[in-house]
Symmetry: C2
Subunit: 358 residues, 2 copies
C-alpha cells in the first residue's frame, strides 16, 4: 500500500493522529503500521533507524550531553465498532485515539520535523503493549538491544490528559487455591466444600484497608482485589477445588518482594501462588531532563496509578514519566476519543522542551 504518512500529514500532529488511527494495528497485527513508521523514519537523514520485530527505533546522533527517549506503543486493543476514525467537533473518535496513537503522533511528528533537538532523542515505536507481557516490544528490545534504551530520561506518551504522571504502582497477581474433598451433595457430610472455604479469603479482601502513600508530592493509592473466582464440578457434587485470583496494586515504595510478603501476610494460612508481578517505579523527578520537562509543562506532576512501561525504564535505572494528550478514562472504551486541543497543546509543550537548546 502507499504510505499514508506523507510529509503533509507528518507536519500536523492532529492530521497525523487521525491517519495513525486509520491504520489498523490490533496487538499482534502491527506489521502495516510498523512498515509505514519505519519508512518515514528511514527517510529522515538526521535519524538512524533500526527495527526489531514490529518495533521501530530511530535516534539522533548529535553528540548532545544528554539523551532522552520518547516512546509509544503502536498497538491497540481490539476494534469495537470504532474504526476507522470519525471527527465530531473538536474530537477525534476511533480505536487507539487516546491509547495511544495521539501520543505516538506527537513523537512521530517531532522525529520527522525536528532535526536538531536540544537533547539527543531516541524515538521508540513498539509493538504489543496491550497484551501479555511476553510479547511486549519494549521488553523484547530491553533483552535483545538494551543499548537502544540507554538514556538519561524517558517520556512515555501514554494517555494522561496532559498531566505529567510520575512513577507507577507495582502490580502483583496471585492465585489462592482452596482444596476440599468431593462428595455427592446428597451425602455432603462426606466431603469438604472448597467453595465454602473461599469465604474467609473473600472476607479478608472485603475487610482490607489499602494504604495511601505520598512520595515526592505524588499520592499513590494501593488496592487489593479479587479479579476472578472459579470453582465447581457439577450441580450435584460438593466441589473439591476453588481458585481466587487476586491483584495487588502497590505504591512504588514497596519492592516486588515486599509486596509479596505483604500479600502472604494478608492471606496467612492459605496457599498463595504468584502468577504475575511487575515492580512499581518511583516518581524519578530529579533527573535534569525531567526537571526541564516539568518546567516546559508548567504544572505539578501527579502519581500514576496504573502500571505502565515507565517501570521497565525505571528497572533499567532510567527515570521516566508519563505524559500524553489522551484521556486515560477513555482508553479501551468503545467511544474512545481524543481532544484536538490537547494534541496541539502536547505538541507545543514537547517542542518547547526539546527545541530550547536548538
Amino acid at each position: 500500500m502507499a504510505n499514508p504518512l506523507t510529509p503533509d500529514v507528518l507536519v500536523d500532529p492532529v492530521v497525523l493522529t487521525r491517519t495513525l488511527v486509520d491504520i489498523e494495528s490490533v496487538s499482534r497485527g502491527e506489521k502495516d503500521i510498523a512498515d509505514c513508521v519505519e519508512d518515514v523514519l528511514r527517510q529522515a537523514p538526521h535519524l538512524r533507524t533500526e527495527r526489531y520485530g514490529n518495533t521501530v527505533m530511530a535516534r539522533t546522533e548529535l553528540g548532545r550531553a544528554q539523551r532522552v527517549v520518547l516512546a509509544g506503543h503502536l498497538d491497540t486493543v481490539p476494534i469495537n465498532d470504532n474504526f476507522p476514525s470519525t471527527v465530531v467537533d473538536d474530537l477525534i473518535y476511533g480505536c487507539g485515539a487516546s491509547d495511544m496513537k495521539s501520543g505516538v503522533a506527537l513523537a512521530l511528528h517531532l522525529a520527522a520535523t525536528l532535526p536538531a533537538p536540544g537533547y539527543d532523542v531516541t524515538y521508540l515505536f513498539y509493538e504489543a503493549e496491550e497484551i501479555e507481557s511476553e510479547f511486549n516490544g519494549l521488553r523484547l528490545v530491553s533483552q535483545a538491544h538494551p543499548e537502544w534504551l540507554r538514556a538519561d530520561f524517558a517520556l512515555l506518551l501514554e494517555p494522561t490528559y496532559g498531566v505529567v504522571e510520575a512513577g507507577c504502582q507495582g502490580t502483583l497477581s496471585a492465585r489462592i487455591h482452596l482444596r476440599g474433598r468431593r462428595a455427592h451433595v446428597a451425602r455432603a457430610w462426606r466431603g469438604v466444600n472448597a467453595i465454602h472455604a473461599a469465604g474467609e479469603v473473600l472476607h479478608r479482601l472485603a475487610d482490607y484497608r489499602p494504604r495511601t502513600v505520598t512520595i515526592d508530592g505524588c499520592t499513590y493509592r494501593e488496592g487489593l482485589n479479587a479479579v476472578r473466582i472459579a470453582g465447581g464440578v457439577a450441580g450435584n457434587v460438593v466441589p473439591d477445588e476453588c481458585a481466587v485470583d487476586v491483584n495487588l496494586r502497590f505504591a512504588p515504595d514497596r519492592s516486588e518482594g515486599q509486596a509479596l510478603d505483604h500479600l502472604r501476610e494478608v492471606f496467612a494460612g492459605f496457599d498463595v501462588a504468584v502468577t504475575d508481578s511487575a515492580p512499581g517505579a518511583l516518581p524519578g523527578l530529579d533527573a535534569a531532563p525531567a526537571r526541564e520537562f516539568l518546567a516546559a509543562v508548567g504544572a505539578e506532576p501527579a502519581a500514576k496509578l496504573g502500571w505502565t512501561d515507565v517501570a521497565r525504564f525505571a528497572a533499567l535505572g532510567i527515570p521516566a514519566l508519563n505524559y500524553g494528550p489522551g484521556d486515560p478514562a477513555l482508553a479501551h472504551a468503545p467511544d474512545e476519543h481524543v481532544e484536538i486541543g490537547r494534541i496541539r497543546d502536547g505538541a507545543a509543550t514537547l517542542h518547547r522542551w526539546l527545541a530550547t537548546y536548538e
Copy 2:
C-alpha cells in the same frame, strides 16, 4: 441385529445383567436396547406391551386386587473405558452394571418368567434418566400415558446394595447473583467488587447447620452447598458480577415451596433465583404391597438420600421404594460393577414377594 435376549439368557438374571450391559445405551441412544426389550415382552403371551419413544411398558391383566409397578431406566451415563462387560471372580464390571442394568435384569427376568404373579404387575423400562429431566421417559409417560403408571405401589430398581431405601430428599438449585461496579484495579475505589460481596454468601454457607429429620424410622440428612462459583472480567478489572450456584437437599417433610422459603431466609438480602427444583418423597411404607415387600426382604428400610424417580410416583400419589442389587457408591464410576451374589439375592427376594399369592 439378532436379539441377544434369548430365552436362555432371560431365565438367568446374572447372565441377563451381563447381556444388558453389553447393549450400549448411553442416554439418548436407547433405541437398540428398547427394541430388544420390547421384542422380548411382546413374545410373552401373559403381557400387554406398549411403547412410547424408547420407553417400553408391559403389564399383566390378571384382575388382581392390587397392582404394583417395577421400574428401571434403560440408559447409562457415558461409557468410560468400561464397555463391554468383564467378569472378575464374582463381580460383573461394566458401564451400567450397578446403575441400573442389574436392576433392569431383575424386572425383565420376572416379566419373562413369572406369568401369574400375586399382584398385577406393570413393568416399565424407560429412557433418559441420567440426563436433563425434560428427556426423562418416566416423566414423558406420566404426561402422555398416565394410565400406564396407575398402581398401588411402585418399586424402583435403582442401586441400593440390597437395602430398601424409602422416600427421597427433595432438591432445590438456585443462583445467587452479586452485582458491583466495574473499575480498573488501579482505581479500585471507583468500583464495587462483586466477588468480595460473595464472601457473605459463602460465610452463611460455611456456618449453615443442616437438619437431620427422622420420618417413619428413616433418617434424612439435609445439606446446603455451593456447587459452583464464577466471577471476574479480566486480570485488571474490579468485577461487577459474581454468581454462586447453591443446592439444597431437603428432607421430604418440607414441600418445594417450604424449601424455597427456607433458602430465601438463609440468604435474606441477596438475589436468589431458582434454577431447578424437585420435590422429595415421604417414605410411603404404609401401603399393603410395601409392607409385604418389606416382609419379603426381611430388613428395616433406610432413608434414600439422593433424589430418584420415586418422587415422580410420590407426586402421583403412588407409594414407592428403591431397591436394587447395585452399589450406589459405584454408580457412574469407571470401575462400576455389581456383585453376582446380590443379583441372585434380589431375584430371590422379588420372587418371594410376587410369587406368594400365585
